[in-house]
Symmetry: C2
Subunit: 166 residues, 2 copies
């Protein structure tokens, strides 16, 4: 089992750190990747090292996490990210996005007729993408898991880990 | 089951956030407390709300977490913290400290003849307190669980959660 966390500068620190360490606790290998290799800094200041997405082989991974913060607004314009998301969704691999992370799902065009949630500030973008938006802590629809904000992390991680163990 | 996280300004962000959300994922109630009530800021910049330790009733809690960062160097001079640590240890409740967190155990005088670990920078303080120091990811000795640094969080949380489930 191997997880891929995709984010960039100004990620929401808790939404990257909590899944990262949770996977390792569970014995799941985890890799952080971004548009470019190097150190990226969370919006609160935490720094983590990322590998370049161009060097990521999607086939090696079983699930993808898209944390929130300000990073998704930039990542959604990166075709490498969007193609990887489309590949994961098509291959039936789990894609879990929280807060502003679902904006990347919108840009990848994978939300039509799907039930999902996100940060309330971008709920309209989900709806315009054809998603059935729910203001609910965690929403699971097929291989998509979405949540709204850091305080939803406990339920978000519960669903993700359940998926990994199932 | 109820957990108490004790820290203060300049806590190591990951060592507070990861246990906090992990407890909630597990359905364990968790409270953050500090010498004074209010917002405290991690050394990387994350802000969390703490209640005053003076208002904490130790009897309500089953385990205590002492994250690292720069907070323990201040907390170890707070007699309210030290008395609470002594009460937990005497009552056989789990006390888990990581990084510079074990400095609080040193000050509370609960490490004599105990096997423990901590950040390498303060290993000598543990030894002077009569502890048998091990440079090992996670050390469990009775109801004490200690670890060295953020990268030890996976094993640290594994031991803590196992204790909660046991």
């Amino acid at each position: 089992m191997k997880a891929l966390i995709i984010s960039g500068h100004n990620f929401e620190d808790s939404e990257l750190l909590v899944p990262y360490y949770r996977f390792l606790e569970e014995g799941i290998e985890v890799q952080i990747a971004s548009s470019q290799a190097g150190v990226m800094r969370g919006k609160h200041g935490y720094e983590v090292e990322a590998m370049a997405l161009a060097a990521v082989d999607g086939k090696e991974y079983d699930l993808m996490i898209l944390p929130g913060g300000k990073a998704p607004a930039v990542l959604r314009r990166d075709e490498v990210v969007l193609n990887l998301v489309r590949y994961f969704v098509t291959a039936g691999k789990t894609v879990a996005a929280i807060c502003h992370g679902p904006l990347i799902l919108v840009a990848a065009g994978v939300l039509a007729k799907k039930t999902a949630t996100c940060h309330c500030a971008v709920a309209k973008e989900l709806q315009r993408a054809g998603a059935h938006y729910l203001d609910q802590s965690v929403v699971v629809d097929g291989n998509l898991i979405t949540a709204r904000m850091p305080s939803d992390l406990p339920g978000f991680m519960r669903e993700i880990i359940r998926r990994c163990q199932g």
